[in-house]
């Protein structure tokens, strides 16, 4: 491919003076070249920069503004004239002594716990899959693709499948747990209501997320040469010791970003609760994104939703600083 491109470049050379391929006059060639170089990058990023302004930066600034105005269903279509109320939304909604404030802070805590559980389980399953699929055996490629299916499936499809399994008293989950394993005696628990709903949501999210950990960890493990393990085995290291002293350190560089990315996705999770429970989650399973959604588009309390969004924005900004430090190598500007 590159060869043909090079050849066509050479063919074009014949028609132009080789020293100065630019169509502009030969006398001013050096300064023009220099100026061009400095404008070209801006031309290239211009469309992306304009779009970033329109779809990210502008809306984010507006989002902060919303937190400081009184925006309700009544003045939604005429929001430019909504009254400025200062910190009132934060004071009303996020007072830890009010019911709304308590709901907010317990939601933040719950979302953190949810993130730890989902990311933790996903990492363990992904690691197990990656370790055992990095050895060669028949059917390896097939299994590798198969494990990725939950990740490739539209999120709502995987969630609908689980909703069906959890949903009915007579669904597949209760059939396995109650009828086959006899875990709850005669009692058939409901999984999408009350306290169980939190656990059900964790299960669904782990099912969808673990293939991503598997994918990334497998890519990281591919760099480990097998003779390292051979040497360790000759020295009498057990499988567990090999895992602890070779495998784990080898994936450490990949781990930081992997855990960070998975945590952010999980912390911001909206799709799974929305499909599993509908627009309003059970109070034991409400996460931060659905809570903001419920306040804004459920009870039309946009100011409160805005105030919560601002806090979320601040938290994510802090998280993104850490993320960027891990992802962007130092001196990325210089190349």
């Amino acid at each position: 491919m590159s060869h043909s491109a090079l050849d066509s470049g050479k063919a074009a050379e014949g028609s132009k003076p080789p020293a100065n391929p630019e169509p502009d006059g030969p006398t001013q060639a050096p300064p023009i070249r220099k100026r061009r170089r400095s404008f070209l990058p801006y031309g290239l990023i211009a469309p992306a920069a304009i779009l970033e302004l329109l779809i990210h930066i502008g809306p984010m600034l507006l989002g902060v503004w919303i937190a400081f105005i009184s925006l309700t269903q009544l003045n939604l279509t005429n929001w430019l004239n909504a009254p400025f109320v200062g910190l009132q939304n934060f004071i009303n909604g996020l007072n830890p002594e009010s019911t709304i404030g308590q709901a907010f802070f317990s939601t933040v805590g719950r979302t953190l716990l949810y993130t730890i559980l989902v990311v933790g389980f996903s990492w363990v399953l992904g690691m197990a899959g990656a370790v055992f699929l990095s050895s060669n055996f028949k059917g390896r490629a097939l299994l590798r693709t198969f494990f990725l299916v939950p990740y490739a499936l539209p999120a709502y499809v995987g969630t609908i499948a689980w909703a069906f399994m959890f949903n009915q008293r007579d669904g597949a989950v209760n059939q396995i747990l109650v009828d086959t394993l006899h875990l709850f005696g005669d009692h058939r628990p409901f999984w999408l209501l009350g306290e169980n709903s939190f656990g059900a949501m964790v299960v669904v999210n782990v099912w969808q997320l673990w293939p991503f950990a598997f994918l990334m960890l497998m890519a990281a493990l591919q760099n480990v040469p097998n003779d390292v393990y051979e040497a360790a085995a000759i020295d009498g290291a057990t499988l567990w010791q090999q895992f602890r002293t070779i495998t784990l350190p080898m994936v450490r560089p990949a781990n930081g970003v992997l855990l960070m990315v998975m945590s952010l996705w999980t912390f911001n999770q909206f799709n799974i609760p929305f499909v599993l429970f509908g627009a309003t989650s059970p109070k034991e399973a409400t996460l931060i994104s659905p809570l903001i959604y419920q306040n804004s588009f459920g009870s039309w309390n946009f100011g409160l939703g805005g105030a919560m969004s601002v806090l979320l924005l601040i938290a994510l900004f802090i998280a993104s600083v850490f993320y960027i430090r891990m992802v962007l190598p130092k001196g990325a500007d210089n190349d």
């Binding site: 590159s2 491109a5 470049g9 391929p21 070209l40 990058p41 290239l44 990023i45 469309p47 992306a48 920069a49 779009l51 970033e52 779809i55 990210h56 507006l62 989002g63 919303i66 939604l76 929001w79 430019l80 899959g129 050895s135 198969f146 494990f147 490739a152 539209p154 709502y156 499948a161 069906f164 009915q168 597949a172 059939q175 099912w207 497998m218 890519a219 990281a220 097998n226 085995a233 499988l239 990949a254 970003v257 990315v261 911001n268 909206f270 799709n271 627009a279 994104s289 959604y293 946009f302 969004s309 979320l312 994510l316 998280a319 993104s320 960027i324 962007l328 990325a332 500007d333 190349d335």
Partner: protein, 279 residues
Amino acid sequence: MIETRKFRILRNVVLTVLSLWVAIPLFVVVSTSIKPLKDVAGLFQWIPREITLAPYFDIWTTVPLAKYFQNSLIITIAATACSVTVAVLAAYAIARLPFKGKRAFSLTVLSTQMFPGILFLLPLYLIFTQIRNITGLQLQGSYLGLIITYMTFTLPFAIWMLSGYFASIPKELEEASMIDGTGRMGALFRVILPVAKPGIIAVAVYSFISAWGEVLFASVLTNESTKTLSLGLKAYASESDVFWNQLMAASVVVSLPVLIGFILVQRHLVAGLSAGAVK
């Protein structure tokens, strides 16, 4: 690891458990999709007592599935095409050219990639309202409105992944081309793009998949005529009857395009994700 006997036994156990964990929900979807409605309620049956393909024909008439399909296709393809086109140019600049403000631009792209849609939903809704008040252009419930909002997550991802791909292509390739007189842009279009084609396709497929599964923006910004699949499937379950068998059949049908696309490009996707996201 070394393939001792113990390792092999452990491997078989772990891989069997993982396979079942992945397979059970998939099996439930497929087996429910080929059952008659009378067998879907009540105690779940693992083996269908009676097999029928009727749900696969009925899904198109119970709800306007073809219309939802069309809506999803238009919005997803448009958002993906716009993102990838804009991202190719920006990603090339990030990967190859020195310029002032590069770090600020990269940081913006990187951090907006991590922000949830919920932060952008209400502001964009208000901006759309204002545009309608001023120009009469109706963006709520329109294809254009959804395409714009879908770019909030497809664009930063595409820029970031593609700059990873471009950075991994040897500089010598375009230097040779530029010495031969193609210029920067000529080198980009005639040398870099053909070489990066698998990566670009993988990024496009991945953007397509994430837009295809989007729920949040669709739940607020669509109306009856622009509803996408992610919301349209709810219609099988919203009446007093829940047509679980049809819902599962429809799930299979809407999953197939993205599943096939994913399997075709997964090798390049892994390379790109591990180069771009996980260094």
